[in-house]
Amino acid sequence: MNTPLHKLTVKEAIGFCQKGGAQELVHALTERAQKLNPLVNAFLRFSASDINLPLTAERLPLAGVPVSIKDNICIDGREVTCASKILAKHVPPYNATVIEKLKSAGATLFGQCNMDEFAFGSSCETSAFGPCKNPWDLTRVPGGSSGGSAASVAADMTLAALGSDTGGSIRQPAALCGVVGVKPTYGRVSRYGLIAFGSSFDQIGPITKTVEDAAILLNVLSGHDPKDSTSASQSVPDFTQALKRDVKGLKIGLPKEYFIEGIDPQIEKSVREAAEIYKKLGAEIKTISLSHTEHSVAVYYIVAVAEASSNLGRFDGVEYGLRVPTKDLREMYFETRDQGFGQEAKRRILLGTFVLSAGYYEAYYLKGQKVRTLIRQDFEKAFKEVDVILSPTSPTAAFKIGEKSADPIAMYLSDIFTIPANLAGIPAMSVPCGFTSGGLPIGLQLMARPFDESTMLRAAYAFEQETGIYKKKPKLD
């Protein structure tokens, strides 16, 4: 055995676990997490008791391989917090569908990952349990909201993790931490048991070390679920079959609106070099236009916060989580929500409540929904010309902890390139494409037609295998 166990990919680990190595692997990751998590704070909880292998696991597709879970996905009998005080000590009475699927495939659930409170953020700083740090530079943010999922994978404390993506929460942290993150088509993966943020945007997806690992996990996670009325009935192909180093004749679009003022020049350069690599591999590169891009953040911060304010109405101290004792019921709602929610959660609840309130609904919420249509139409038009759209995942590399936390709009703009895919419901992913001069990872975003994750994964795989950028790891030891 030459490779240390924590360095294995999911693909390699499946082989190792099939020979009975699962316990040893989980043990090695536990040891590593005990050493590194106090520095990185990627896991809110992990323990050796998380080893819960059915005896037959090694005969199942994932063979006992450990996968970590963002702490907004319900696991029967285990505390789930959404990194919020209002859910502290909440134990869900059922499994999310993705958890059922992982368990049926023989995965070991290992560790629950830190995140922005209720997934409200792009830096993991709004967690009620302290910020998660970027493994490449512990003074910087890992991105968010699935910051703990991305950081735990980047730090080799786990082999793969689930995240959720409402406006970029899988892809942006994957980019900032130098790992692969996939947001599937809206409806591809069941949302049952995912604690809701923006129900018309939310998707669960994998964060992994390689594109192949992401395809392996997507095979497990995808599919129609009768328990989620917005899950799609489209058939699910074997995504690993798409992984070929062949992009000859593939039409790739570079949207001119994604190369704007405010983008770090090193990131622009890295993405344009990626386009050149695709060209060299035989793809056809075209400049395209997604003309309403500049409006996507504004649309998102109307429509997503409106959905969020409605979804978070259920946290009132009655049935679960925190309850602040008061003399009457009405006061209990107000006090519980005041003490339970952090500042960003309050900001979004208030904003969402405002845009839905009488007299403002048409000017804000309805207007936002209409511009959402225009953004969808931009993509429909673009995908008549190209198969894949290429862009930066994030306009900057990982920023310093505290750098943007005082200015909500600056923070919201870090999602400017990821939000459009959620507005349109299309699949999108981030794959490592280089490093800044300061050694921070840069992510390349790929977007594809609805339910065409296969083409997107093939393009990502060809690039990853050609460049080998994913092999570089942060120095933590």
Binding site: D76, G317, P325, D328, D338, L350, T373
Partner: protein, 93 residues
């Protein structure tokens, strides 16, 4: 953009501390000013998108299945009595 933060907080069932009220009021005003740029776009002939999948009325058979979720939910509730969630008095005498 000026908003009546007390009115919105009341609708959202949120008590706000005096010190956070000012900051939140300012933030909300700035965000609403930012999103107002959408007004530049003519959307008079555009249909709103509430959902990307264009599906409607998803039904499934109404079949009873066994579940222990109800009893487990009560186990972790803040306060219960019998098979009920218990809350403070609604109407004060």
């Amino acid at each position: 953009m000026e908003i009546n933060i007390d009115r919105v907080a009341e609708l959202a069932r949120l008590n706000l501390k005096a010190e956070e009220k000012k900051k939140l009021e300012k933030d909300l005003g700035a965000i609403l000013d930012y999103v107002k740029k959408l007004d530049k776009l003519d959307t008079s002939k555009v249909e709103p998108t509430s959902h990307v999948l264009n599906m409607e009325n998803v039904f499934r058979p109404d079949e009873a299945k066994s579940s222990d979720a109800a009893s487990k939910a009560l186990e972790h509730a803040p306060q219960t009595e019998g098979s009920f969630f218990k809350v403070p008095k609604i109407v004060q005498r």
